[in-house]
């Protein structure tokens, strides 16, 4: 009934016995002090895997805890606590085999029961996890009903027939499920420590963890220090001894402290500085894809601005946006022009040939003018003035100004810009009090549906209220077929025809990275990094 489905690369790595031993070039040696320090911009929200929502917290949790599967430097799924898994032919049952040598930092073994406890805890309404929907998104049976309080947490589709076997039951096939187990919410948590310390269990001294590192210091608003866990099953394959995360709110100050040698990696490169720093520092200035898409959304509610209900107007506005200018002149940090919603670096994704993408900007402008004339607005037609709203930020402002100018020049459309404080902005968007609003979406897992899902009519993120039953049907079907690529491509084409949004650019992450630090997963699209797979070479 079962067939092996571990990818070949993972098996090959297993055979060599270690995931990432330091690879040293001629004349290189390991540094005496195996440390790595990096900064985050905002204080860590929580280190409780059940509650974690944001990237920075996930990064720390990935060092302190280990889930069933990990990701390697290219984003491939590799064994973690589980040595592998089997999936049933209908794709609904996953059976994970847990490695016997995995233990908690207090020496007790990591069992399948720890995962069952952890996952039930995530969906338990009493835990009040803001990310409790993630297990439902993964398709685990009864997850959504438990979150809604309609079923007891022990009805969750996860079972531990013995200490070394974890069986997960899904309601629909989800080929990306093993990949999702590398997310913090699906990590095991230490039941005894949680029951002993309550909400305080994530403090140093109370926390028991099963990852390559343990939490040794935590000063709110200042820093987190993690040191090597000698009981970790692959401690022998780990090189870095200490990982320090510093909270530095000011992006420029982080660059200063990086120059001073205090930091090995900055959270970001401050907006606009990428070209100059690249010129100055070369390969230490890094740009990697980041699975987020920046777009403008039209208010598609039937009672909203009449002109925007005309698809010709929307398409003209989209075509007239010169993405090249935005990507190359304004952002200039490795971002790419977007004509669709799904980020180009998404796993298994091949974008369809969208008509707009194949044209030159002159052709796009010409077509935009023709469409707008047909609709009867702008130059030579009825005057049209539109408002773009965005949350207060210099780079959003720059883009909005540029787009406004492009529309004015190409189409004779006037725009007014309105910036709003973040929470006010979200509220305005949700209430539908806008004509055109800035938006961005980041993938929750590395698959096209994580992007396309937001345009389905029942998605919470669809506050532009695009309603197209054909689109919904496509996405629904894609979730059940073995190769959904064609459906996803059809969905992208449908979005390009209906133009509820103007995709503008695909994100890139920019940061400074000390070249003595090696093993950073540049090709991992989700930037899931593991300090245990990194090392530091001695400065020449």
């Amino acid at each position: 009934m079962f067939h092996r489905s571990l990818c070949a690369s993972a098996l090959a790595l297993l055979a060599t016995g270690a995931l990432a031993q330091p690879q040293l070039a001629e004349g290189e040696s390991l540094a005496a002090e195996q440390t790595f320090s990096y900064n985050v911009i905002d204080e860590f929200v929580t280190l409780d895997p059940a509650l974690i929502e944001v990237v920075d917290d996930n990064d720390v949790a990935r060092q302190l805890f280990e889930g069933l599967m990990n990701q390697d430097a290219t984003g491939q799924v590799v064994p973690g606590v589980a040595t592998g898994y089997e999936v049933s032919e209908d794709g609904l049952t996953y059976t994970f085999a847990l490695r016997p040598e995995a233990v908690w930092s207090d020496g007790t073994p990591v069992t399948a029961g720890d995962f069952v406890y952890a996952w039930r805890r995530v969906v338990d309404p009493a835990t009040a996890s803001p990310y409790s929907w993630f297990i439902g998104l993964a398709g685990v049976e009864n997850a959504d009903a438990i979150v809604a309080g309609e079923m007891a947490p022990d009805a969750l589709g996860v079972a531990a027939p013995d200490d070394r076997t974890l069986v997960v039951t899904l309601t629909r096939p989800a080929p990306f499920f093993p990949q999702m187990t590398a997310n913090a919410n699906l990590f095991p948590v230490p039941r005894a420590a949680i029951e002993a310390s309550g909400a305080e269990w994530t403090q140093p001294g109370n926390m028991i963890s099963n990852g390559a590192y343990v939490l040794s210091e935590r000063v709110p608003q200042e820093r987190i220090v993690m040191t090597r866990n000698p009981l970790y099953w692959d401690d022998a394959g780990t090189t870095l001894d200490t990982v320090t995360a510093l909270v530095i709110n000011d992006e420029n100050q982080a660059v200063t402290r990086w120059r001073d040698g205090e930091l090995d990696k900055t959270a970001v490169v401050p907006a606009g500085q990428f070209p100059a720093l690249k010129e100055e520092l070369g390969d230490e200035t890094v740009a990697v894809p980041n699975l987020c898409t920046y777009y403008y959304q039209f208010n598609m509610r039937p009672d909203a601005t009449a002109a925007l209900q005309d698809v010709r107007v929307r398409e003209a506005l989209s075509l007239a946006v010169d993405r090249g200018v935005i990507v190359n002149a304004i952002l200039a940090g490795g971002q790419r022009e977007a004509y669709g919603l799904t980020h180009w670096a998404t796993a298994g994704w091949t974008p369809p040939q969208l008509p707009a993408e194949a044209m030159t900007q002159e052709e796009r402008n010409a077509r935009a003018q023709a469409l707008m004339a047909e609709a009867g607005y702008g130059t030579g037609g009825e005057p049209l003035s539109l408002e773009i709203i965005f949350n207060t930020s210099e780079s959003h402002q720059q883009i909005a100004v540029a787009v406004g100018q492009m529309w004015k020049q190409t189409l004779g459309i006037d725009t007014t810009l309105a910036n709003q404080e973040w929470q006010t902005f979200l509220d305005t968007r949700k209430q539908g009090n806008f004509e055109i609003a800035r938006a961005a979406w980041c993938a929750d897992y590395n698959e096209a549906s994580s992007f396309l899902d937001i345009a389905t009519s029942n998605s919470e993120a669809n506050d532009f209220r695009y309603v197209n039953p054909d689109f919904d049907a496509l996405i629904d079907r894609a979730l059940t077929v073995s190769d959904p690529l064609a459906d996803y491509q059809a969905a992208e084409e449908m979005l390009a025809r209906d133009v509820p949004i103007i995709p503008i650019y695909f994100y890139a992450s920019n940061f400074l990275l000390n070249d003595a630090v090696r093993g950073w997963p540049m090709e991992n699209a989700q930037q899931y990094w593991y300090a245990k797979d990194m090392w530091r070479v001695a400065e020449q």
């Binding site: 996890s129 803001p130 929470q423």
Partner: protein, 307 residues
């Protein structure tokens, strides 16, 4: 005097209650909430989270519970944003930090500001006076968010004497730059107020008399002029002291000191209701307390004042 202090403390109670209620109402009047983000929570998840923090109950019940928990149990509740922290814990961590650099900045600002102001007034229209006035004006147009990067550029990147940021339990070398950056503008203001007030006192009748009877200038300044000249400075120092020890957003954000200065802004932007309230109450209580201290000091410095 004692009855005055007691009376003032009694008035402080309704003042605090008004502060709490008004802040609470303003807070909920602001659009958005602590759990909104670009990825909206599904309704069932939002309901669970709101229930966890009691946000599903009527406002009146929420505010009554909030006040009751503080009065009865000195419990300011958990942070809505930082799930591993309580408000008391965040303040207990951040307030000592701002208290440390704020206190030293206060000492530096008062000592240097008063000396500079007095010296400038005594040597009016000399190079010293012009220098002091120039410095005072220069510092007030050079805000700390400009001064701080300059200090880091000079002392960290060029001279390599001091670290660019961090706190590390308040080790001296981490405290120096925040203190200078915070103290400078206050120092300038104190120098300006001291100078003008000193000039006024030095031109008054009783000083002329003292001069006429042949007292040396040093004694005139120390014994007769300084005390009355400091009265306007003192009324500036009360609120200034509170502002300094409760920290500065700029200092905390720029030097990553981890003080509560940044909590003012961050908690408001995050709609972290409980932290916002906790910080507001802290600053409110300190303001009331130090205004009282200033009033008591007034009576001590100026015998004409009676309560």
């Amino acid at each position: 005097m004692l009855s005055f202090v007691i009376r003032r403390l009694l008035v402080a109670i309704p003042t605090m209650i008004v502060l709490v209620v008004v802040s609470y109402v303003l807070m909920f009047a602001a659009p958005g909430g602590p759990f909104n983000s670009e990825k909206p929570l599904p309704p069932a998840v939002m309901a669970n989270v709101e229930a966890r923090y009691g946000l599903d109950r009527p406002y009146v019940v929420q505010i009554a519970t909030y006040v009751w928990n503080i009065v009865a149990r000195w419990d300011f509740g958990p942070s809505f944003k930082y799930r591993d922290q309580t408000v008391s814990g965040l303040i207990a961590q951040g307030f000592p930090v701002t208290l440390t650099y704020g206190f030293w900045a206060f000492v530096v600002a008062v000592a240097a500001g008063v000396s500079l102001g007095v010296a400038a007034a005594v040597r009016q229209n000399s190079w010293l006076d012009y220098g002091a006035v120039g410095f005072a004006i220069g510092s007030s147009v050079l805000p700390n968010f400009v001064l701080a990067p300059i200090l880091v550029l000079v002392f960290t990147l060029w001279l390599d004497w001091l670290p660019a940021g961090g706190w590390y339990g308040g080790e001296a070398r981490y405290v120096v730059l925040p203190v200078i950056a915070l103290a400078t503008s206050y120092l300038a203001a104190i120098a300006r107020i001291t100078r003008s007030s000193m000039l006024e006192v030095l031109n008054s009748g009783f000083i002329r008399t003292a001069r006429a009877k042949g007292l040396p200038m040093r004694l005139i300044v120390w014994r007769h002029a300084l005390k009355p000249a400091l009265l306007p400075v003192l009324s500036y120092l009360g609120p200034a002291f509170v502002a300094m020890i409760t920290g500065s957003v700029v200092i905390d954000m720029f030097f990553s000191t981890g003080g509560i200065g940044q909590s003012f802004v961050n908690s408001a932007l995050n709609r972290d209701y409980s932290v916002m309230m906790g910080v507001t109450i802290l600053v409110g209580a300190l303001t009331i307390a130090f205004n009282l201290v200033v009033d008591v000091l007034y009576a001590w410095i100026d015998p004409k004042i009676r309560y």
